[in-house]
C-alpha cells in the first residue's frame, strides 16, 4: 500500500482564507450594474379562493419596472418530487387559490426597496376565505376541508393524503404472538427550522440574447437549473447558475423557491438584473421548515431482547403542497429499519396536506424523529426485561455483510464497534441507573446517561443522479479541478481536492478549484443527498487516476523505465530506487504536448451510485435499491436535570461513528459538532410556534438557536472501516447528516436515566419534565 500524503489528513479548508478575510462573496453580496430590488406579495390567508388580482396601480407606480402575477407565468407547476405517481403540485405564483400564509401571489421589481414595498401595497387581491385545517390527523378526517384531493392510489377514506408509503416483510402478527414482550407507543416531534444564517437570496440577470444568469443561495446548481428552465420555459442551456458562496443550508435550500422564480421572471420582463433577498421574518413565516412526524411504533421482542416484530404507522404534516413530504415517509421507513435486524416488519406512512407552509428536507430528513421513537422504546423494553441498554443494542445491531430487505448491503458496517467504543469511553455501564438509585434527598441536580444509534445512507438516485469531474494539468505542473459540487460549508471543495491531490501527487494548495457553475463545470449530484464524499469523491478519484496514468506513461518514456517502476511525489516523477533523479511535472506536461500530439494531460471521471439500477427506489413501496453505502453511529449523551425547574441540559456528547474512511478528520469533527449542536437545539431550545397556520415567533429572539453558552463537550471516536488506496475505488460514507439523530434519542434516554421521566415528544421542555415529576399540576 502506498503512503498517503493528502487524504486522511486534517488539511485546512481551501476556501478558508477567503472566508476569514471577508472576501468570500455570497449571493446576498452580489450586485450587477442597474440591479433592481425585487419583493414578493404573499398570501395573508391560510386558505382562500382568489377572486381577482389587480396589479395595474402597482405597474404605474413611480420607480416600478416590472410586476408579475400568475398571468405572466407559463403555469408550469413544480415540486420537490416530480414523478408519475407524484406530479408537481405547486404553482410558482398562485392562480385561483392560496393554501398557506406566505404563498407567493405577485412580485415587483423597482429601483429601490421603498418603491418595491409601496408597489406591493398597491396590488389589490380579492379573496374568498375558505375553511382551513392545520393538524394532520384532523386533516385526514372525512369532513375536513379539502386542500387537494387525496392521492388517487390511496384506498382508505382519508382526506388530504399527499402520498403513502407501504412496506412489509415476514409475518408481523405472528411475530407479536411469538414475542415475550410487546410494547406500543406514540412519539411526537415538533416543528423546527434550519436556521441557516444567510437568508434565501437570488440575483437574476436576463441577457437580451436570451441567456438567464442566476446567482442563488442553494445546495447544488444543477437541480436549480433544471427547475428554473422548466418553469420559465427556457432551454436548459439558456439558464446558467453561477457559483456564489453559501451561508448555510441544512436541507432548506434544495427546492425551487418563489424568490428564485420571481427574480428570474422579473428580470426577463424588466430587462434588468433583479435581486430578491428574503427578510429573516419571511424565512421564518413563509419558507420551508422541517417535518414533525407522529410515530406509532409497536415492537415485539424475545425474552433476551432480540427483536421479533415491529409495526410502524407514521403521519407527516407536509404542509400545503407535497414538498419533500412524500420523501420523508419513505425515508422514515429506511431510518426505522437500518440499524437493527427486524425479521418481521410492517410500515405505513402518510404524508398529509395541511394549510401550513410547505416543508423541506432538514438535516437528517426524518431520521431524528424515527430514532427518537425507536431508541426510546428500546430502552423501555430493555428496562422491562432487565437488560442493559448496551447489550440490547449489541444483540440486534446489524453485522458486516448483512443484506437489507431491499437488496442493499451494509458491507463493512461498524455499528457494533461504535456501540462498544461509545460505551467503554463513557463508562456507560458503571454510570447507568446510578441516579435513579440514589434517594431524592441526594440533591436537586441529577445526572443521567443515555445511548442512541443511527444509520444514514450515502447518496441515492435522484436527479442529477451522477457526478463528473475534470482534472487539467497546468504547464507549471500544478492542476485545476473542475467540479459541479457546491461547497455549503461542509468542505466539498477541500475533500475533492485532497482526493485529486492524492491521485496525482500535487499538493492541495497547488490545485485550483473551479466549482458549482452549470456552464463551466460538469454535472454534480449536489450537496443534499449525502453523496458528495462518495459519488463526487469517486468521480474526482477517477479523473485524477486518468491524469496519473498519463503522467506515469510519459515519465516512463522520458526516463526509459518501466511504468510500474515510476513513482510520483510532490509534482515530480522518479524511478523506484533512484529518488535523486527526478523529472518535474512541468517537464512531463511539456513532453506530453511535444510527443503525444499536443496532449496537455486532462483527465475526466464520472460516478453513479448503484450504476446498474435504472432509477431510485419506489417511494410508494420502498422496492428497489436505495443506496450503496451506509454510515453507522452510536452516540452517548450525559445530561443534568434540575429537578426544581425541570430544566435539562446536555453536558457531554460522545459520537462513535463509522464513516468509512475520514478523508479529512478536521472537517469530519466539524460536521459532528455541528450536528450535536443542532440536536441539542432540537431537544431543548428550538420550536417554531404556530397557531392556525401563522408563525408566532419569526425571529431569533423568540426562536432560540444554541448560542456559545449552550454547547456541550463533544467528543469523537472514529471507527474506521475502510482504507484509501490510490487507484482503487473506495466506499467512504457520509458524515453530514447522520449524527443529528442518535444523539437526540440519547438525550431523551439520559433524561430518563437522570430522573425516571420518559419523554414521548420533543422538545424536552421543563414543563414536560416537571409534569412527569408530579411537580406541575
Amino acid at each position: 500500500m502506498s503512503e498517503l500524503d493528502y487524504v486522511g489528513k486534517p488539511v485546512l479548508r481551501k476556501d478558508g482564507p477567503e472566508k476569514v478575510t471577508g472576501r468570500a462573496l455570497y449571493t446576498v453580496d452580489m450586485r450587477l450594474p442597474g440591479t433592481l430590488v425585487g419583493r414578493i406579495l404573499r398570501s395573508p390567508h391560510t386558505h382562500a379562493r382568489i377572486v381577482n388580482i389587480d396589479a395595474s396601480r402597482a405597474e404605474r407606480a413611480p420607480g416600478v419596472k416590472a410586476v408579475v402575477t400568475h398571468k405572466d407565468s407559463l403555469g408550469v407547476k413544480h415540486g420537490f418530487v416530480e414523478t408519475r405517481r407524484y406530479p408537481a403540485d405547486q404553482n410558482c405564483l398562485a392562480e385561483d387559490k392560496v393554501r398557506f400564509v406566505g404563498e407567493e401571489i405577485a412580485a415587483v421589481a423597482a429601483v429601490d426597496e421603498y418603491a418595491a414595498e409601496e408597489a406591493l401595497e398597491l396590488i389589490h387581491v380579492e379573496y374568498e376565505p375558505l375553511r382551513a385545517v392545520f393538524d394532520p390527523e384532523e386533516a385526514m378526517e372525512r369532513d375536513a376541508p379539502e386542500i387537494h384531493p387525496s392521492h388517487p392510489k390511496v384506498r382508505e377514506p382519508f382526506r388530504n393524503i399527499a402520498g403513502k408509503t407501504e412496506s412489509s416483510w415476514g409475518d408481523v402478527e405472528k411475530g407479536f404472538d411469538d414475542s415475550y414482550l410487546v410494547l406500543e407507543n406514540r412519539f411526537d416531534s415538533h416543528l423546527r427550522t434550519h436556521g441557516y444564517l444567510e437568508p434565501q437570496a437570488t440575483l437574476a440577470s436576463f441577457e437580451p440574447a436570451g441567456k438567464l444568469n442566476v446567482w442563488t443561495s442553494s445546495q447544488g446548481p444543477f437541480i436549480k437549473r433544471s427547475k428554473l428552465a422548466k418553469t420559465l420555459g427556457l432551454p436548459m442551456s439558456a439558464v446558467r447558475i453561477h457559483k456564489a458562496y453559501v451561508g448555510g443550508a441544512f436541507g432548506g435550500k434544495i427546492d425551487l423557491f418563489g424568490h428564485e422564480y420571481c427574480a428570474s421572471l422579473l428580470s426577463m420582463k424588466a430587462g434588468r438584473p433583479v435581486k430578491i433577498v428574503a427578510t429573516r421574518e419571511e424565512v421564518f413565516t413563509a419558507y420551508r421548515h422541517g417535518q414533525p412526524l407522529i410515530v406509532h411504533v409497536k415492537t415485539g421482542v424475545k425474552k433476551d431482547g432480540t427483536l421479533v416484530a415491529q409495526r410502524f404507522r407514521v403521519i407527516n404534516n407536509c404542509g400545503a403542497y407535497r414538498g419533500s413530504g412524500v420523501v420523508v415517509i419513505f425515508l422514515a421507513w429506511g431510518f426505522a429499519m437500518l440499524p437493527y435486524r427486524i425479521p418481521n416488519l410492517e410500515y405505513e406512512g402518510y404524508a398529509v396536506y395541511t394549510n401550513n407552509p410547505v416543508r423541506a428536507p432538514q438535516r437528517g430528513h426524518g431520521a431524528p424523529q424515527m430514532r427518537f421513537a425507536v431508541e426510546s422504546q428500546l430502552d423501555m423494553i430493555a428496562e422491562q426485561l432487565g437488560i442493559d441498554p448496551i447489550e440490547i443494542r449489541l444483540k440486534n445491531a446489524r453485522q458486516p455483510g448483512e443484506e437489507l430487505p431491499n437488496g442493499d448491503n451494509v458491507h463493512n458496517c461498524g455499528l457494533a464497534d461504535c456501540i462498544r467504543k461509545a460505551a467503554e469511553h463513557t463508562e456507560f455501564k458503571q454510570k447507568y441507573g446510578k441516579s435513579r438509585q440514589t434517594p431524592e434527598s441526594a440533591g436537586r441536580y441529577r445526572r443521567g446517561i443515555g445511548i442512541g444509534v443511527s444509520s444514514y445512507f450515502g447518496g441515492s438516485l435522484i436527479y442529477p443522479n451522477s457526478s463528473s469531474v475534470v482534472v487539467k494539468m497546468n504547464d507549471d505542473g500544478t492542476a485545476i479541478l473542475l467540479t459541479g459540487a457546491m461547497d455549503i460549508g461542509q468542505g466539498a471543495e477541500t475533500i475533492l481536492t485532497q482526493i485529486v491531490a492524492e491521485e496525482i501527487k500535487v499538493p492541495v494548495e497547488e490545485i485550483q478549484v473551479i466549482a458549482a457553475d452549470t456552464e463551466s463545470t460538469p454535472i454534480d449530484i449536489g450537496s443534499w443527498i449525502s453523496g458528495n464524499a462518495y459519488v463526487s469523491g469517486n468521480a474526482a478519484r477517477v479523473a485524477g487516476a486518468e491524469v496519473r496514468a498519463k503522467l506515469i506513461e510519459i515519465a516512463a518514456d522520458e526516463m526509459e523505465a518501466r511504468q510500474e517502476d515510476i513513482v510520483l511525489e510532490n509534482k515530480t516523477a522518479y524511478v523506484k530506487g533512484s529518488p535523486d533523479r527526478r523529472i518535474p511535472y512541468s517537464e512531463l506536461v511539456a513532453a506530453s504536448v511535444r510527443k503525444r500530439r499536443g496532449d496537455s494531460i486532462i483527465g475526466n471521471g464520472h460516478w453513479r451510485t448503484m450504476r446498474d439500477e435504472p432509477h431510485h427506489p419506489s417511494l410508494a413501496t420502498t422496492k428497489g435499491r436505495w443506496s450503496e453505502n451506509y454510515a453507522f453511529d452510536a452516540q452517548v449523551a450525559e445530561v443534568e436535570v434540575d429537578t426544581e425547574t425541570g430544566k435539562a441540559r446536555l453536558l457531554r456528547a460522545v459520537t462513535a461513528h463509522d464513516c468509512g474512511f475520514p478523508i479529512n478528520p478536521l472537517l469530519v469533527e466539524g460536521q459532528v459538532d455541528g450536528q450535536v449542536s443542532m440536536a441539542l437545539g432540537h431537544a431543548f431550545l428550538e420550536e417554531v410556534l404556530m397557531k392556525d397556520g401563522r408563525t408566532l415567533n419569526p425571529n431569533w429572539l423568540e426562536y432560540k438557536m444554541p448560542s456559545i453558552h449552550n454547547m456541550a463537550v463533544s467528543e469523537h471516536l472514529d471507527v474506521v472501516t475502510e482504507s484509501y488506496e490510490v487507484g482503487r475505488p473506495y466506499r467512504t460514507k457520509e458524515v453530514g447528516e447522520g449524527y443529528v439523530s442518535a444523539i437526540l434519542a440519547a438525550i431523551a434516554n439520559a433524561v430518563y436515566d437522570a430522573v425516571g421521566v420518559r419523554l414521548f415528544s420533543t422538545p424536552f421542555s421543563p414543563e414536560k419534565i416537571l409534569q412527569a415529576l408530579g411537580k406541575l399540576k
Binding site: T21, R23, L197, R280, W700
Partner: protein
C-alpha cells in the same frame, strides 16, 4: 432628502450622501461595497453584522451611520495589514472554526476585540464575548479553541518582540 455622513473606515475617510436613517451596515455594504459584514437578521439577534467602532464590537444593523462619524470603524476587510492574516484569522483556519463562513467576519471581529483587551481570556470570558454571535454550522467548540489559540499566539508574539 439626503444628508452627508463622514465616516472613517479601515483608516480611510469617506463622505457619503445617504438618507438620515440609513444604518451603518447599509452604508458599509451598499455604498462602500464592504460586504464582509453580513446581514442575517437585521434586528440585532445574530451578530453577523459585527464591526468595530474604536475597537469595540457593535451591531452595524442597529447602528445609525450618522451616529458613528467620530469613530474609527474597522470591518473585516480592514483587519489585516497587507495580505498576512492576523493571529485570530489564522487560528480560525487552523482549528477548523470556519464552515459556511457567514458568521465568521463577526466572530473574528468580536474575538479580536476581546483579545486586544484580554489576551489570555478564560473560556467563560470567551463565551461572554461571543454570546451575541450565532453560528449554525460549527457548534462553537472549535471557535472557542481558535480564540484561545489566537490569544496564546498573540501573547507569544508580544513576549517575543519585547524580548528582542
Amino acid at each position: 432628502m439626503k444628508i452627508l455622513v463622514e465616516l472613517s473606515v479601515n483608516g480611510e475617510r469617506f463622505e457619503i450622501a445617504t438618507n438620515p436613517h440609513a444604518t451603518l451596515l447599509e452604508v458599509l455594504r451598499n455604498q462602500l461595497g464592504l460586504t464582509g459584514a453580513k446581514e442575517a437578521c437585521g434586528t440585532g439577534e445574530c451578530g453577523s453584522c459585527t464591526v468595530l467602532a474604536d475597537g469595540r464590537p457593535i451591531l452595524a444593523c442597529l447602528a445609525l451611520a450618522a451616529d458613528y462619524q467620530d469613530c474609527e470603524i474597522t470591518t473585516i476587510e480592514g483587519l489585516q495589514a497587507g495580505s498576512t492574516l492576523t493571529p485570530v484569522q489564522e487560528s480560525f483556519l487552523e482549528k477548523g472554526a470556519v464552515q459556511c463562513g457567514f458568521c465568521t467576519p463577526g466572530m473574528v471581529l468580536s474575538a479580536t476585540a476581546l483579545l486586544k483587551k484580554n489576551p489570555a481570556p478564560t473560556l467563560d470570558q470567551i463565551r461572554k464575548a461571543l454570546e451575541g454571535n450565532l453560528c449554525r454550522c460549527t457548534g462553537y467548540n472549535k471557535i472557542l479553541e481558535a480564540v484561545r489559540a489566537a490569544g496564546e499566539k498573540m501573547s507569544q508574539e508580544a513576549s517575543g518582540s519585547s524580548g528582542q
